[in-house]
Structure formats: C-alpha cells, structure tokens
C-alpha cells in the first residue's frame, strides 16, 4: 500500500513570488539607470542628485506597476508606503553618514594610550600616540554621575507628584518644568557660576559641573517620566488601593514597577541630554587637562571640553585627537544605551 500522506510543510503563501521579486529588482534597476541618465542629461549634479532622482523614480515606477496590476487603491497605498520608506531613508542618511565619518576619522587616534593617560604632559598637537583622554572619560563620568544622582530622585518624584499625588501645585510645577526644559545650557552654567562658584567656592570644580548638568537633566527626566506614568492604566492604581495598599505603597510597588522600562528611557534621555554639553562645563568645571578624580576641588576635564580644545588647535594631530574623542564618546553613549535597554527590557514581552 502506498497511499503516502503528502507531508505538509510550513510555507508562506503570502510571500512574494520569484516573478514579483524579479519585477521589484527590475524596478530598482530601472530607477538606478534612470537616475544616471537624468543626472547625465540635465543640470543636476552630485550624490544627492542621484539619490533624489532614484527615490522619485522608484516611487513613480511602483505606483505605475501597482496601478496596472492591482488598481488605483493599491497604487495609492504604494505611494503612501513609498513615502514612508523614503522618509526613513532620508532620516537614516545623515545619521549613518555621521556615524561613518566619525568612525573613519576617529579610528586613527584609537590607540591604547588614549585610555590610560591624560593631557597633563602633552599638548593637543603632540603625536597621537602620546597623551590621552582618561581625564575626560573620568571627568564626564563623574559629572554626569553627580547630575544623575541628583536628578533621578528629584525628576521621578516630581513626575510622581504631577501624576499621582496631584496637589495644589500641580499646574505651576508642570509649567515650571516645561519652562526649565527650554533653558539654554549656558544659562544653567551661568546660574551655578553666579549662585555658587563666585560667592562660595570661588574655584571651578567637577561638583559644580555636575550641579549645572543636573539643572538641565531634571526637567528632561521629570517630563519624560510624567508622560510614562500617565500611560499606566488607572485600573492598576485602583487595584492596589482596593487591596489595602496605601497610596505610597501602591505607587512604589505597582505603578513605578509597571512603568519601569519607560522610566529607564527617561533616564537615558536625561543622560543623553547632558552628555555632550560643553557650555556649562567650560564655565564651571574649569576644563582641566590632568586626571582629577576629586569632584570637590580642582578643574575637571570632560569629553566636550577635550574635543573643543583639540579642534581649536587646528593642527592635523589635534584634529585626529578630537575625532578620536568624538568616536569614544559615541561608543560610550551606545554602550550605555544598549546596557540600559537590556536591564530595562520589558519582561512581559515574549
């Protein structure tokens, strides 16, 4: 007996057939050819012209193809999705070219000594294998850390006040937070300078830098956290209260944990807001070239300051140095971003 049951294999009947893929490829080739032809025949010039013409042609070809094969509704749909894709590409273009440029120009300076020494004994136009940015690395870390220690509780507690406790001062505080998030960073620096450095400490220090960054960080964390807490359904608060929880325990054990991944995003945004701030640090942290791990006394270096100083020198070596600094800063921000994403990954998502 050989009535073999046909083996059923999982398939994707909705996937595009080889013919459809060939047509897609043809459209791309046609658009590429068209863009070369148009650029050659017309006044248009440069890479951007190629890219622009190519995008336009792809959209038109897709539209015509969809119109002929599936009708006007499908053709309109293809226009909308083409524009969405074009939007993504236009957004990605500058980002990737920045990343590419930073990597290309920064990798020359990426030597081990970069992470083990400071610039105490070297000028920016010394050879790239002398001196380093250890002082900037530690300085930025310490100052952003100080800012975070101050801003995290204040920012999140402010958000909790605005969304959960909703007291008499909700409106004025929300207004103030919004106004503060628009404050130019130099104003934060000037404020610390005139409120603390001139009258009290007399000298710049890492702590002052951290305070200035905190002024910039608090509104970012508070506003983002507020948005996140507002998304938590009222049901959960009611369930916590109905189980005999006090308001505070309901907030701390249910609302905040439910908002955890969003609150982590708020923190990332806060750090990202200040990590590259130059102006306030130039004013109040003194911008040292030597390794200084003590935030309470003496000037403290930072990435933005290091990069700014190296660029202003203008020699080949110093510019290499600046690019290396940018590359390291970028890598650090990425590491931070992915690490916090991992920690805060929503465990409910499977």
């Amino acid at each position: 007996m050989s009535i073999d049951k046909p083996v059923v294999k999982p398939g994707k009947p909705w996937a595009s057939t080889p013919k459809e893929r060939a047509i897609d490829l043809g459209a791309i080739l046609l658009a590429a050819f068209g863009s070369f032809a148009l650029v050659a025949l017309s006044e248009l010039k440069g890479k951007l012209a190629y890219a622009g013409v190519f995008l336009l042609l792809i959209i038109v070809i897709n539209f015509i193809h969809n119109y002929l094969s599936r009708g006007i509704a499908s053709a309109k749909d293809s226009i909308a999705s083409s524009f969405a894709v074009a939007g993504v590409l236009i957004t990605l273009l500058p980002i990737t070219s920045i990343l590419f440029a930073v990597f290309e120009r920064g990798k020359a300076g990426l030597k081990p000594n970069l992470f083990t020494t400071d610039m105490k004994l070297n000028g920016p136009n010394d050879p790239i294998d002398q001196g380093g940015l250890l002082h900037a690395l530690t300085g930025s870390g310490i100052m952003v850390g100080i800012a975070l220690i101050i801003s995290l509780p204040i920012g999140i507690l402010t958000a909790i006040y605005l969304t959960e406790i909703k007291g008499l001062f909700t409106r004025p505080i929300r207004f103030l937070v919004q106004a503060m998030s628009g404050v130019p960073s130099i104003v934060a620096g000037l404020f610390i300078l005139s409120a603390i450095v001139f009258p009290i400490t007399k000298t710049p220090s890492g702590l002052m830098g951290g305070l200035a960054l905190a002024i910039l960080m608090i509104p970012t964390i508070a506003r983002t956290s507020e948005e996140v807490l507002l998304l938590i359904p009222e049901d959960l608060r009611e369930a916590g209260i109905a189980l005999g929880g006090t308001q505070w325990r309901t907030i701390s054990q249910i609302v905040v944990p439910a908002a955890k991944s969003g609150l982590i995003t708020a923190i990332i945004l806060g750090v990202a807001r200040v990590a590259g701030e130059t102006a306030p640090l130039v004013l109040v942290s003194g911008g040292g070239d030597a390794l200084n791990l003590d935030p309470t006394s003496g000037p403290m270096g930072s990435f933005p300051f290091y990069i700014w100083k190296a660029f202003t020198f203008g020699t080949n070596e110093s510019i290499d140095r600046a690019w290396a600094g940018i590359l390291v800063l970028l890598i650090l921000v990425f590491i931070l971003f992915f690490a916090t994403r991992l920690v805060g990954a929503d465990r409910n998502k499977k």
Binding site: D235, E238, A239, I241, A242, L243, G245, P257, A258
Partner: protein, 297 residues
Amino acid sequence: MSNSEAQDPLDKGNEKMETTTPSSLSSVAANAAAKRKPGSGALGVGLEARGIHAWFGDKMVLKDISLDFWSGTVTALIGPSGCGKSTFIRTLNRMHEFIPGAAMAGDVLLNGKDIYESGTDVTKIRLKVGMVFQKPNPFPSMTIADNVLAGLKLAQLKVQNKDDLLEECLVRAGLWAEVKDRLSAYGGSLSGGQQQRLCIARSLAVRPEILLMDEPCSALDPGSTLKIEETISELSSTMTIIIVTHNMQQAARVSDYTGFFLSDGGPGELIEVGPTSEIFSRPKDVRTENYVTGRFG
C-alpha cells in the same frame, strides 16, 4: 424569563442549605422572610448600607440606597447601565472617594461599625471588603505568584507560609490546576478568564470577609464565565459576595438575593430587593418585571 428557569436559583439555594453551614443560612432565609426594614437598627454582622447618596461634582447619581448584606450570602445587583451600581459598590469599600469630585452621604456599617467614621483606617476597611474589577487587571510587573501575594506586601501583612496561602487562594479561585506549573510566569501571559480568576485569587489572599465584584464576567467568554460562577458558588460558603451583573441568568444562577437599581434620568434608586427567585418570578414592582423579562434596559 420562564417560570421554570426562575425556579433554578431556588433549587440551588435549597441544595446549598443542605450541604453548607445550614444554621447560618437558614437564619438568613428567616431574616429575609421577616422582611426586615433596612435602617431599623444595626444588624451587627455583615454589611449594611444605610441611606447612601452619592455625587460626582454637582450631579447626584445615587439616592437613598439602603441595603443589607447578610454574612454568607450572594447578592446580585442588576439594572441598566449608568444607574449607579458601580458607584454603589464602590461606596462599600471606600473606593468611591478615590475619584476626584466624588461625594457621598449615608452610613455603611461593617459588623455594626460605620466604615466612614472619622479616624477609621481606610486601608483596613479595604482589606476586609475586597474588590474584583470589571476588566481583569493583574499587575504587569509581577509573576502569577507575586500577583496573588501582592496584597500582603501592599498592606504589609505577615503570613506563616506563603506557599500554602498561594496554593489555597489559587485553588479557591479555581485556577490552581491551570497555573501550578507556571507560577513564575507573568500574569499578563494568561488568558482573560484566567487573569480574572487570578484577580479573584489576589483578593482572597488578604482574607476579606466581603468580596465586591463589578461585572467580573462582562469581558469574558462563556466558558470562563462559567468557571467564575463556579468559583463564586464555592466562595459563598465562607464569605459574603456582592456581584454586579448585566446577565440575568448569571444573577439567577449565583445569587441568593437580587437588588434592582434604576435611574429615570436622575439619580439611581433601589427599586426592589428580595430573594432572587422572587425577583425573577414574582417581582412586586412593574419596572423590575419589565427589566427582568427583557422588556427594556
């Protein structure tokens, strides 16, 4: 609804009287038969609502509701949407005051003591009067086990053996068999019906005397609804249950008493209350009859 269907709750009620704590339940029946007038003096046990009025802002949504819930009974509250059933049961565990702009008047006596008396610890009241909401709302950041025990942490209660309590609550909520191998999975990974039973288990963990259920099955499929009704029947031997429902059959199946609420555009009022079989077979008020027979609402 036909007469034979309406007999069901009565039969069920009789059955129960034979199988569970007969003395208390037959005294309940005797009380009901006596048609005690609510407000004629503290009963001293169970939950008594006296002259409850409720407002949202300037709008009065409940007018003079007096209703007694004897220990160990299941009371169904029925009535069209917007007549104030949810508002009423939320006055019973002081969740009403959680809504900004809410106001109320009247007394709610729990075992003879007014829960609105000044100086009352409101969190203790909510421990004794638990609540299950219309939409299942397990805590998303917690596992199934943590969800069940969440009330202990929230109210800072100590228990001897958490594992025993966990199992007991899940068994009583009729969920143990389905989740015993995945207690550390997240609550959100359960189906809607399972989530609702998880929420029931969560309410049971703090050992309430009274359980308020606000349309607990309205978001669920018929199978899950049936399971929850079984759970209610199980629980009713040890606690007082007040359930709001839009499902007449459900009211008939699970409850000993039924109260009918109605609002004619103004505040909601209690039209009629009595043993479930009577409300469904020979209601005194024509409006109740119209509603339970499906002629309006």
